[in-house]
Amino acid sequence: MQDFWAALAQAFALILGAEAELVEIIGLSLRVSLSAVAIACVIGLPLGAVLAVGRFPGRLALSVLVNALMGLPPVVVGLTVYLVLSASGPLGVLQLLYTPAAMIIAQTILVTPIIAALTRQVIEDLSGEYDEMLRAMGVSRAGMIATLLWDARYSLLTAALAGTGRALAEVGAVLIVGGNINHVTRTMTTAIALETSKGELAMALALGIILVTLSVIVSACVMGLRASAARMAYA
C-alpha cells in the first residue's frame, strides 16, 4: 500500500511537471490514434453511407461483413499487419514495420469498421425519414448521400469519438506492429504495459491517469453532443 501511494504521488508529480518522456508518449499516442480515426472517417463515412442507401449486389453481405469486422481482435489485426509489413511480407519493401505509420495502418483497420457500421445505421435511419422528400425534390443519389451525411453530422461525430476511444485504448495491435520502441513507437498503452512489467509504477500510473482522463473527456464530448443536438434540432 505504501508503494501505491508513493507511486501515485510520483505519478501526479510527473503529470504536473509535464515530464518530457510522458509528453512525448502522449503526443505520439494522440498523433497515431487521431490519424487513424481521420483516415477511418474518410473511408468509413462514405462506405457506411453507400451501404445504407446504395443499390448494388452484395450490399447486404458487405454490411454483415463490416458489422463482423467491428469486433476484430486487435492482436489478430496486429499480427496480420505485421505479416504484411514484415521484411518477407508483400509490403516489406516499404519498411514500415516498427514505425508510427504501421501503427496508424493497424488502428485504421480496427476503427474503419466501427465508423462504417455506425454510419450505416445512422444513415439508414435518417434515410427512412428523408428518402421520399429527397426523391420528390429530385435530389441525385450523390446529393442524397451528401445531404444525409450532413444532416447526421452529430451522430457521425459521435461515431468518430467512439472510434477515437477504441483507438486510444487499444494495445495489442500497436504493440505488435510498433514494437514499443522508446522515442519512436511508444504509446500510452504499450508504455503502461512495459512500465508495469518493469515495476515502474509511477510512470505507468501517470499514463493510466491520462488515458482515463482522455476517455472521460471523449465520453463527455459524446454526451454533450447528444444533448446539444437534441436541444438545437441541429440548427
Binding site: 425519414e129 428523408y130 422528400m133 425534390m137 429530385g138 434540432a233 440548427a235
Partner: protein, 245 residues
C-alpha cells in the same frame, strides 16, 4: 416566380392515370382509378380519413409505383425533374436552419450559389418567416414548418404542385397567408392539387373537386356543382358529414 406570359414547358401534360391500382398488405387501397390532370383549375381532393388521398398524391408524384395500371406524363412514363413539387401531410424538413433548407432546395433545383441568397430572402418573406431565417427548421412551430415546406416546394417553380393537407395545423391567419400563396401560384399557371379535409377551405379554394372514397373517385365536378348539387350518394353523404370509410 415564373413569368406569367411564359408558355408552359411541354412534356408533363396531361398527367394520366389509367386503371391505377395500389395494393399493400392484402388490401386494395387505390382501386382502378382513372384520372387526367391538365393545367388550369385548382383541384381539391377530398374524402374521409384513409380514403387514399395521400397515396394518390404519392402515385401522381411518382414516389410509389402503381401495382396495376399506368401513369403517364405527356408521352413519358416518369415526370421530368422538378416539374412536380410535393408538400407532404407531415412535412419533412432538414436538420438545418430555415434558410439552409431553402438553400438546399434551390441548389438541388440548379440555382447558382450567387443567386440563392436573394431568392431565399424572398421566399422567407413570402412565408412570413424572415425573422426565423437562422432558426432550426425543426424547432419552428407546426404552422411555420408547413409554410416553409410550401415555399420550398414553390422554389422548384413546378408545373404541378401537390399539397397534402398543407393547412392542417394552421391558425386562421396563417391559413389565409398559405391560401394566398397557393392562389398566387395557381394564378401564375401552376396546376395545384390540394388535398383537404376542410370544407370551408375547399369552398374558398377549389375550382374543381374530386371526392375520393375507398380508393375510387366517387365524384369529380366543378366546385360549385359539387357543393350545391352533388350527384353521387357518397358526395351527398360526405357533405352532410356522414360519409365514413
Amino acid at each position: 416566380m415564373r413569368d406569367v406570359a411564359e408558355p408552359p414547358r411541354p412534356g408533363l401534360w396531361p398527367v394520366t392515370l389509367r386503371a391505377v391500382a395500389f395494393r399493400a398488405g392484402g388490401q386494395t387501397l387505390i382501386d382502378g382509378l382513372d384520372l387526367e390532370l391538365a393545367p388550369g383549375a385548382l383541384t381539391c381532393v377530398m374524402g374521409p380519413n384513409g380514403a387514399g388521398k395521400s397515396l394518390l398524391v404519392r402515385l401522381i408524384a411518382g414516389l410509389i409505383a402503381p401495382t396495376e395500371g399506368t401513369i403517364t406524363y405527356g408521352s413519358a412514363g416518369a415526370p421530368a425533374k422538378n416539374r412536380i413539387a410535393v408538400v407532404f401531410q407531415r412535412p419533412v424538413l432538414l436538420r438545418r436552419s430555415a434558410a439552409a433548407n431553402l438553400d438546399h432546395a434551390l441548389k438541388t433545383y440548379g440555382m447558382p450559389r450567387a443567386a440563392r441568397p436573394g431568392r431565399i430572402a424572398a421566399l422567407l418573406s413570402e412565408a412570413g418567416l424572415t425573422a426565423q431565417a437562422g432558426q432550426a427548421a425543426r424547432l419552428l412551430s407546426g404552422g411555420e414548418q408547413q409554410r416553409l415546406a410550401l415555399v420550398r416546394a414553390l422554389a422548384a417553380e413546378p408545373d404541378l404542385l401537390l399539397l397534402d393537407e398543407p393547412a392542417a395545423n394552421l391558425d386562421p391567419q396563417a391559413t389565409a397567408m398559405l391560401e394566398a400563396l397557393i392562389r398566387r401560384a395557381s394564378s401564375e399557371g401552376v396546376k395545384v392539387v390540394l388535398v383537404t379535409h376542410d370544407r370551408d377551405q375547399a369552398r374558398r379554394m377549389a375550382e374543381e373537386v374530386i371526392l375520393l372514397h375507398r380508393g375510387r373517385i366517387a365524384e369529380r365536378a366543378p366546385a360549385q356543382a359539387f357543393f350545391e348539387n352533388p350527384k353521387s350518394p357518397e358526395a351527398r353523404a360526405y357533405l352532410a358529414g356522414r360519409l365514413l370509410l
